[in-house]
């Protein structure tokens, strides 16, 4: 998510609500009442019959109910509490070998049938310019099945009062620990998706996600300098239990740093953030040059997302995103030539089944059962991310199961699966990794990020930077950004900590497509070492 999105999503009053895709605001009790499955099935069957009757050779129907809740605070104030709901039906068809799509919020039989016929009409109209008919990988019907994110505490059922108390408590703790300013927010998402297709699938899914970002700022009035430290939490595919702050979810790192895995203590992190933001004000500036980088999973996820997740999306590789998100350096000929994407230690895999991840679902938005597959195997580019109408290009006959639409009103297309770095096979912790680093930097948390349109040249920051000298992690430093060329960077991977250090980070609002759609995706890794990476100093003077 970029800053512009964040400003919009946390906007005050009406301005924050008039955004497309957020639907209408609803009362809190509405958020915990599911739609009747029989009603959804009846509506979907109307659409299937209308579409096939109008000449569709394939049809899928998504009856969607998308619920969001946001609680936005700063210091001792609640800035906004918003509940939204959006419900409707999206119908996708193939007619004359061409895709057509229509969506409606008119959920009467007549309304749904009309939308189905409109989708067929659009397909037939577009087929006049179609040069190659849609080639759809076979997907067996699964009958009537259901799937739910394995949550133990539905965040939608937690009273707003409790959420407000949590956030104001977080803010008070940060201010007491020396913060000048603090913002904290809760985003709660529930997608209730009912998918039906002419393949014979009736799939009812209840998907939950949660994000609790915070941002602490400290100011040195004498010098005019200010520094911020964002929270070290991750957006997750979990319920409110993520915020229990269980000890089992914590990872104690060097210099007393606490990172978080499957559980988050927001108050504890806010206090640490306030102290560390003050430390950042006094930390010396980095000397630019080549360093061995030791990257915490909280930093790694964004680097994986940009430099592996995006370039292995097949639609980008083929050129379908050339005008917006861009293309990819990881072209099909490179896979043929067994392109060395990274060192032998590097195995990166896509996985839509990881428990707790943002992308976890039982079935994707075209009814394909989700699974895990390798993208980079022992350093070699071996595969891409592809959906039903793309996998034949890879010589495969089954979709990877990574199709997604951000709303009932959006057409589904290929979106990034959770893409993660496999942990090291040998036992290794952070201390063990650092002990033979002579001149390095330990980086925690994600910061600024930018990458070119073919995913070669990237620059990443972080939240906390510590120098490593002669095998020991030392004092905090500031103004660090590392620059990389993707293949060289991954080929410089020298060590990966073992599975006990594995954690996931993620993006709640990853953008793609025209018109734009967002999706949520996680990326896991253990702490990883990269040798000889270029680090620049980002300090400037405005005079």
């Amino acid at each position: 998510m970029d800053r512009r999105d964040f400003m919009q999503y946390t906007g005050f009053g009406l301005a924050g609500l008039m955004l497309p895709g957020f639907g209408r605001a609803v009362a809190a009790e509405t958020l915990v009442t599911p739609m009747d499955v029989a009603l959804k099935k009846a509506m979907a069957d109307v659409a299937l019959n209308a579409a096939t009757g109008a000449g569709a050779t394939y049809c899928d129907v998504r009856v969607g109910r998308y619920l969001n809740q946001f609680v936005v605070t700063r210091e001792e104030k609640v800035q906004n509490v918003v509940n939204t709901e959006s419900t409707g039906v999206g119908i996708r068809v193939i007619a004359n070998g061409t895709w057509g799509f229509a969506a409606t919020s008119n959920m009467t039989s007549a309304g749904v049938a009309a939308a189905a016929r409109q989708a067929v009409a659009i397909a037939k109209a577009n087929s006049r310019n179609q040069t190659v008919p849609v080639h759809l990988a076979p997907t067996p019907g699964v009958g009537e099945v259901s799937w739910r994110t394995p949550i133990t505490k539905n965040a939608m059922e937690v009273p707003i009062k409790d959420k407000v108390e949590l956030l104001l408590g977080v803010n008070a703790a940060a201010l007491k620990a020396g913060a000048n300013f603090v913002n904290s927010t809760l985003f709660v998402v529930n997608e209730q998706k009912y998918f039906v297709s002419t393949d014979g699938s009736y799939i009812d899914q209840d998907v939950h996600r949660l994000w609790a970002p915070l941002n602490v700022t400290c100011i040195d009035k004498a010098t005019g300098k200010f520094r911020s430290r964002q929270g070290l939490s991750s957006p997750v595919g979990m319920g409110y239990e993520y915020l229990d702050g269980a000890a089992t979810g914590k990872v104690l790192g060097p210099n007393g740093l606490i990172s978080y895995g499957r559980s988050y203590d927001m108050v504890e992190d806010a206090i640490a953030a306030a102290k560390q933001a003050q430390e950042k004000l006094k930390a010396p500036s980095v000397k630019p040059g080549k360093y061995d980088l030791v990257l915490d999973p909280g930093n790694m996820w964004l680097t994986i997302h940009e430099s592996v997740g995006h370039p292995t999306e097949l639609d980008r590789v083929l050129g379908y995103e050339a005008n917006y998100a861009g293309t990819s350096f990881a072209t099909l000929d490179k896979r043929e030539a067994k392109f060395k994407y990274g060192s032998d230690l590097v195995t990166l895999f896509a996985d839509k089944t990881q428990v707790g991840s943002l992308g976890a679902v039982g079935y994707d938005d075209e009814g394909v059962k989700t699974r895990r597959w390798d993208l980079i195997k022992d350093g070699t580019l071996v595969n891409y991310q592809a959906i039903r109408d793309q996998v034949h290009i890879l010589g495969e006959n089954a979709s990877h199961g990574c199709c997604y639409a951000d709303s009932w009103s959006s057409v589904q297309f290929q979106r990034m699966a959770n893409v993660s770095l496999a942990p090291g096979k040998d036992k290794l912790d952070v201390a063990g990794m650092v002990k033979d680093v002579e001149n390095g930097i330990y980086i925690v948390g994600a910061g600024s990020f930018s990458i070119d349109q073919q995913r070669y040249n990237a620059q990443f920051g972080g939240q906390l930077f510590y120098e490593i000298k002669n095998g020991k992690i030392g004092a905090m430093i500031e103004d660090v950004a590392y620059q990389m060329r993707t293949p060289e960077f991954w080929n410089s991977c020298a060590a990966i900590c073992d599975e006990s250090d594995y954690r996931m980070g993620g993006s709640f609002f990853d953008g793609k497509g025209q018109p734009g759609q967002v999706s949520a995706v996680s990326h896991g890794s253990s702490t990883t070492r990269f040798n000889g990476v270029n680090v620049i100093n980002t300090a400037r003077s405005l005079g």
């Binding site: 970029d2 800053r3 512009r4 009406l14 609500l17 008039m18 209408r24 605001a25 009362a27 809190a28 104030k77 609640v78 800035q79 939204t84 895709w99 799509f101 659009i122 577009n126 310019n129 040069t131 000048n180 300013f181 700022t217 100011i219 009035k221 004498a222 005019g224 300098k225 200010f226 911020s228 083929l318 050129g319 379908y320 995103e321 050339a322 005008n323 917006y324 861009g326 293309t327 600024s448 930018s450 070119d452 349109q453 073919q454 995913r455 070669y456 040249n457 620059q459 920051g461 103004d479 950004a481 620059q483 060329r485 025209q514 018109p515 620049i536 980002t538 300090a539 400037r540 405005l542």
Partner: protein, 444 residues
């Protein structure tokens, strides 16, 4: 139904206000019809039309506020949305920063609507795609682009008698043209209220020329260069800088507009004296709505006046707290320049780099507004007033504040809006010294 006339909108809004039993009520109604066509690999990939209308109701009991929205407009639905907002308001904690509704304001209409754009048909969109794809196919090039057109209205009313209504249109076109072998890439963008000003056949020539001209790029060493940023290349950096014009952030000491020791830099010389930026909602080149997000009527005024900061954005709450007059937040940025085209700026350049477009711009350090990003779709080396050869793309790390102190010359402002900027802008091509490129990119 997505477009309401002023009378239809007012009737719905008046009903809503009347239904509310809260201390204050504000209702906002907006609707639009958005058409689009997308193409890639010289084929149309998707096209569609989305109609949407939404009513948002905000009510307040004292300083407790609630908001609800709905997209149905019968009497029962209106009653429902008002009650939902009121229920939420009763549950909400007090918001100390809640500002009472504005009294009746006067809004002078601005030229945001063109019937020509509202009349765009699916056939027109298909023709734009064909006009973009055909010349590319004929030249062994590959086109990918997106045309999006929008016609809509915005209306609001409150329990103190304030009311506003205005229609608007917008057409946005972008097209990326790549050589079939992937060695060259060009791009063009256009954005207008009035589609009669848009000509895809002319635009595509620019993208084709850039694509063919950018193949076989040579690598130059990263470093500080004199650059000419085309308007689209400069817009993303300048519009990013405007986030720092928030008065509250500045007063709180967390913006480049903060003053050492406290306060903000309003009135100070922060930029080269040749930098002047106006807000003017009645601009015929890049108009804006006559009210800002909180309903305050916009005026014509300077934002930067000959290098001095002339305006910071105050919320109604912050203006009252700081004892400042409330001035509406700008809806457009009109930057002054000269008379020269980009080509004429190139002619007057001994050595430099021409940048077509900047991409993936992100904030690195808010203290200095240090931004990073990359050049894209046509980067060229200039010597003795001529473009000598294409160069590989660069990553930059540069602050727009420093940029606007390193001005060599400004050209003739052009309109940039849509994907490339948060604002409708008039922005000149800029010749700047010592622009900082920090690394090379292999991306084409």
């Amino acid at each position: 139904m997505s477009m309401f006339t002023e009378a239809e909108a007012k009737a719905i809004l008046d009903k809503v206000i009347k239904l509310s039993v809260a201390d204050e009520c504000n209702a906002s109604l907006g609707g639009s019809i958005n058409g689009n066509i997308r193409f890639a690999l010289n084929n149309v990939s998707t096209s569609g039309i989305v109609s949407d209308t939404s009513l948002a109701v905000q009510v307040a009991f004292g300083k407790r506020t609630g908001v609800a929205t709905i997209n149905e407009f019968d009497d029962a639905a209106l009653e429902r949305v008002v009650r939902r907002a009121e229920d939420l308001a009763r549950l909400a904690p007090e918001n100390d920063e809640y500002m009472p509704e504005l009294g009746k304001q006067e809004y002078l209409p601005t030229p945001t609507y063109a019937q020509s754009t509202a009349d765009i048909t699916p056939e027109y969109r298909a023709q734009v795609a064909a006009d973009s794809i055909d010349p590319c196919k004929a030249d062994d090039l590959v086109a990918a682009g997106f045309l999006s057109d929008n016609a809509g209205f915005s209306a609001f009313a409150n329990s103190k008698g304030n009311f506003g209504y205005q229609t608007s249109t917008d057409v946005n076109f972008t097209c990326t043209v790549r050589t079939a072998d992937g060695r060259g890439s060009g791009w063009v963008t256009s954005n207008y209220e009035d589609v009669t000003k848009f000509n895809a056949k002319d635009d595509i020539k620019i993208a084709i020329q850039k694509a063919k001209g950018s193949a076989d790029a040579k690598a130059l060493e990263p470093g500080k260069y004199t650059v000419i940023l085309e308007p689209a290349a400069a817009a993303g950096l300048i519009s990013f800088m405007m986030f720092g014009f928030d008065a509250r952030q500045a007063d709180e000491g967390r913006s480049f507009m903060s003053k050492k020791g406290g306060g903000n830099r309003l009135g100070e010389l922060v930029f080269d004296p040749r930098v002047s930026v106006m807000a003017d909602p009645w601009s015929t080149d890049a108009p804006a709505f006559p009210w800002d997000g909180s309903g305050v009527p916009r005026k014509k005024h300077a934002i930067i006046d000959q290098g001095k900061v002339a305006h910071l954005n105050y919320s109604r709450y912050w203006a009252q707290k700081q004892g400042k007059p409330m001035v509406a937040n700008p809806g457009n940025l009109l930057m002054a320049g000269g008379t020269k085209s980009t080509a004429e700026l190139v002619k007057g350049t001994a050595k430099g780099i021409l940048v077509t477009r900047t991409w993936y711009i992100r904030l690195v350090d808010p203290q200095t507004v240090l931004l990073t990003g990359l050049t894209r779709d046509g980067t060229f080396y200039i010597e003795n007033g001529e473009i000598k050869y294409p160069v590989k793309n660069f990553r930059f790390n540069e602050s727009p504040v420093i940029m606007l102190n390193n001005i060599e010359e400004l050209g003739k402002p052009m309109r940039i809006a849509g994907d490339e900027s948060n604002f409708a802008m008039m922005i000149p091509p800029m010749k700047l010294r010592d622009f900082t490129f920090t690394s090379l990119s292999d991306a084409v």
